[in-house]
C-alpha cells in the first residue's frame, strides 16, 4: 500500500471518530462535568466545577448530586429497569412467533407483512401514544366494549397505571424487536432445520437445538433495540403513566425543566448511561461470540 493509501485509510477511520468525539463524547463529558457541579440560581443554573482564581486552579466538584440520586430516584430507576425489562420480554415473546411467521410466509405475503410491521412509523409516535389514551380511558373504546358486553359493571382503570405504561412500551417498541428477529430468521438455512429433523429431532427440539441458538444474534439485537430506549423512555410514562409509575426519563425531565436542577438531572443522565451500558456490553460479547461461529 502506498503512503497516500495509508493516509486515505486513516482519514476514513478518523472521520467517524471525529464525528463521535464532537457529537457524542464531548456532550457526554459536559454532562458528566455538570453532574459534579452544585446547583445555583444563575445562568446556566450551576456553579462552575473548575475555576481559575488567583490561588490557582480551584475545584468545586461534588458527589452530592449522586448521593441525592441514590436516595431520590432509586424508585424511578428500579421502575425504569423493571418496565423496560418486562416490555423487552413481552416484545420477545410476541415478536418471535410473528417474525417466524413472516420469515416463513410466501414471497408476496412476506413483503406485505413486513410493510404492515413498519406502517406505524408513518404516523407520529406522539399521536399514536395519545391514541391509547382514547382507547384506555374510562369512557374509552375498551371500557365501553366491556360494559356493553356486561363483563364489568364499572369502568376498569386501564389508564395512568403500570398496565398502560407497559402496554405503551410494548406497542411502541415491538417493531424494533420483530425486524432484527426477522432478519436472522430469514437468513436461517432451511436445510439445517431439515437436517435436525432428519437426525431425529422432533419440532420442539429443532427449535431449541438449532433455530434458537442460530437466531441468538437477532434476539440480542432486538433486546437491545427495545431495552435501551425503553429504559430512558419519557413520552410513554408521561402520557400513559401515573404517580406510581415514575420512570427515570420522566424524572430527568422534571429535574431539568420543572426544578431547573441541571446538576441533578445530569447525574441522573450519567446513571442512565451506566445502567444501559452494562447490558450493552454483555450482549455485545454474546453476539460477537456467535458471530465468530
Amino acid at each position: 500500500m502506498t503512503g497516500l493509501g495509508i493516509w486515505a485509510k486513516r482519514a476514513l477511520i478518523g472521520l467517524p471518530f471525529l464525528w463521535l468525539s464532537v457529537f457524542f463524547l464531548l456532550p457526554l463529558v459536559i454532562v458528566a462535568g455538570i453532574s459534579l457541579a452544585e446547583s445555583a440560581d444563575a445562568i446556566p443554573p450551576f456553579k462552575p466545577v473548575l475555576s481559575l482564581t488567583s490561588t490557582g486552579l480551584h475545584s468545586d466538584a461534588t458527589l452530592g448530586n449522586y448521593r441525592e440520586l441514590a436516595e431520590g430516584c432509586l424508585r424511578a430507576c428500579a421502575n425504569s429497569l423493571l418496565y423496560a425489562a418486562l416490555a423487552t420480554l413481552i416484545c420477545l415473546v410476541i415478536g418471535y412467533p410473528v417474525a417466524f411467521a413472516i420469515a416463513r410466509a410466501p414471497g408476496t405475503w412476506r413483503h406485505l407483512l413486513l410493510f404492515l410491521v413498519m406502517l406505524p412509523f408513518w404516523t407520529s409516535f406522539l399521536i399514536r401514544v395519545y391514541a391509547w389514551i382514547a382507547i384506555l380511558q374510562p369512557s374509552g373504546l375498551v371500557n365501553r366494549l366491556l360494559l356493553a358486553m356486561g363483563l364489568v359493571e364499572m369502568p376498569v382503570p386501564l389508564l395512568y397505571n403500570g398496565f398502560s405504561v407497559e402496554l405503551g412500551l410494548v406497542y411502541s417498541y415491538l417493531p424494533f424487536m420483530i425486524l432484527p428477529l426477522y432478519g436472522s430468521l430469514a437468513r436461517l438455512d432451511d436445510t439445517l432445520i431439515e437436517a435436525a429433523a432428519d437426525l431425529g429431532a422432533p419440532p420442539w427440539r429443532v427449535f431449541l437445538g438449532v433455530i434458537l441458538p442460530l437466531t441468538l444474534p437477532g434476539i440480542a439485537a432486538g433486546t437491545l433495540l427495545v431495552f435501551i430506549p425503553a429504559v430512558g423512555e419519557f413520552v410513554i410514562p408521561d402520557l400513559l403513566g401515573g404517580p406510581d409509575t415514575l420512570m427515570i426519563g420522566k424524572l430527568l425531565w422534571q429535574e431539568f425543566f420543572d426544578n431547573v436542577d441541571w446538576p441533578a438531572a445530569s447525574a441522573m443522565a450519567m446513571a442512565l448511561v451506566a445502567v444501559v451500558t452494562l447490558p450493552l456490553l454483555v450482549m455485545q460479547r454474546l453476539v460477537a461470540r456467535e458471530a465468530r461461529a
Partner: protein, 355 residues
C-alpha cells in the same frame, strides 16, 4: 424382502410431476445410485424417502413398514445433504453427536460412538473445530460421520461429491465405497454425474422427467441402454437413426448420411421398414487408413480432442454424418485434421434401441 420399496409413488409441484409413478426396490446392503440430469426428480424422490415431502400417491416402505404418515424424525433413514448442512453453532463432535442426543443415548456411549465415527472418516483430530474452520472435503467427511452415527438402515446421499474438486472427488468416491463396505449400511446416492454412478454403485436407476427409465447394474446401463436417453446421458455415444431394410440374409439399417447399409447385431428382429436407432460407444469405433474388408464408412478427421491418456476423434462422412471415436492417445498420433480414414465396428458392439 427389499429394505426400501417404492410402489407407484408420484409427487407433483403445481402442474408438473417431479416424480411420476416411480416403483423401485433397494436391497439391504446395496450401494444404489439414482442417476439423472438436474431437474429429473431424483432429489425429490430422495426427499420423499427422507420424509421432507409426502407423495401425492403411491407408497414408500422401509423394512416392510409403510412410511407415508411417518414424520422425518421418526424414520430409520439419515441423509447426507448436498450442502452438508452442518450446524454452524456446534463443533464437529457436537454435530456428530446431535442425532445420538435425540435418541437419548447416554453420554459415555455417545462419546465413544462419536469417536468411532470420526475415526471412520479420519477426522479424529478435528472434534473441537467449528464447521467454518473446515475445508470442503473435511465438511463432507463430518457430514458423512453425522449421517452414519445413528447407524441408519438406509443412508441417503444427495450429490455427495458434487461440491468437491475433481481430484478429491476421485479419492472420496473410493473412500465412500470403502466405508459402505465396512459399515454395511445401504447407500442410496443421488447424482447427476454418470462417471460417479458407474464407479460407485452396484445398481443404478436412471431417471428422466420424473420417471425411471432404466434400472440395472452399471455394465448393463452402459453396454445395453434401453433408450436413446440412457445411451446419450450415460457416457458418450454415436446414435444412428434409420429404417430397417432386409438384405440377403441379414437385416441392416438405412441411415441418412451414407449410402451403405449399416449392419445390425444378429439378435434383432423387428419387421422391415421399422424405424430404429443404433447406439455405438465411441471406443468401439475402429479407424484405419486402408479400406478394410467388409463394412466400413469413409470419413475425414474433423478434430482431435486430446484428454491425456485418451483422445476423442471427431469424424465426418462426405454426406455430413458425424461420428465420434475414442482411442488411446498413442494410437491417435498418426491422425490429423483432414486425413481420410475408414471407420468400422463389429456389428454386435452396437446396441439397437427400439422406442
Amino acid at each position: 424382502m427389499a429394505l426400501l420399496e417404492i410402489i407407484d409413488a408420484s409427487k407433483h409441484f403445481a402442474a408438473t410431476a417431479a416424480v411420476d409413478r416411480v416403483s423401485l426396490s433397494v436391497e439391504e446392503g446395496e450401494f444404489f445410485a439414482l442417476l439423472g440430469p438436474s431437474g429429473c426428480g431424483k432429489t425429490t424422490l430422495l426427499r420423499l424417502i427422507a420424509g421432507f415431502e409426502t407423495p401425492d400417491s403411491g407408497r414408500i416402505l422401509i423394512d416392510g413398514v409403510e412410511m407415508n404418515a411417518v414424520p422425518p424424525y421418526a424414520r430409520p433413514v439419515n441423509m447426507m445433504f448436498q450442502s452438508y448442512a452442518l450446524f454452524p453453532h456446534l463443533d464437529v463432535a457436537g454435530n456428530v453427536a446431535f442425532g445420538l442426543k435425540q435418541e437419548g443415548m447416554e453420554r459415555r456411549r455417545r462419546e465413544a460412538r462419536v469417536g468411532e465415527m470420526l475415526a471412520l472418516v479420519q477426522m479424529s483430530d478435528y472434534g473441537r473445530r467449528r464447521p467454518h474452520e473446515l475445508s470442503g472435503g473435511q465438511k463432507q467427511r463430518v457430514a458423512l460421520a453425522r449421517a452414519l452415527a445413528k447407524m441408519p438402515k438406509l443412508l441417503l446421499l444427495d450429490e455427495p461429491l458434487a461440491s468437491l474438486d475433481r481430484k478429491l472427488r476421485e479419492e472420496t468416491r473410493l473412500e465412500l465405497t470403502g466405508i459402505q463396505e465396512r459399515v454395511g449400511t445401504t447407500f442410496l446416492v443421488v447424482t447427476h454425474d454418470q462417471e460417479e454412478a458407474l464407479g460407485m454403485a452396484q445398481r443404478i436407476a436412471v431417471m428422466s422427467r420424473g420417471r425411471l427409465v432404466q434400472t440395472g447394474p452399471p455394465s448393463e446401463i452402459y453396454e445395453r441402454p434401453n433408450s436413446r436417453f440412457v445411451a446419450d446421458f450415460v457416457g458418450a455415444v454415436n446414435l444412428f437413426e434409420g429404417e430397417l431394410v432386409a438384405g440377403f440374409n441379414t437385416l441392416s439399417l438405412k441411415i441418412a448420411g451414407t449410402d451403405q447399409p449399416v449392419p445390425l447385431p444378429e439378435s434383432v428382429d423387428p419387421p422391415a421398414g421399422a424405424r430404429l436407432t443404433l447406439a455405438l460407444r465411441p471406443e468401439k469405433l475402429v479407424l484405419s487408413r486402408e479400406r478394410p474388408a467388409g463394412f466400413a464408412l469413409a470419413a475425414t478427421v474433423d478434430s482431435i480432442g486430446y484428454q491425456g491418456g485418451q483422445s476423442t476423434i471427431h469424424l465426418e462422412t462426405q454426406a455430413g454424418l458425424k461420428l465420434r471415436a475414442s482411442m488411446p492417445s498413442a494410437a491417435a498420433q498418426h491422425l490429423a485434421r483432414g486425413i481420410a480414414v475408414w471407420a468400422r465396428w463389429a456389428p454386435e458392439d452396437a446396441v439397437v434401441i427400439t422406442e
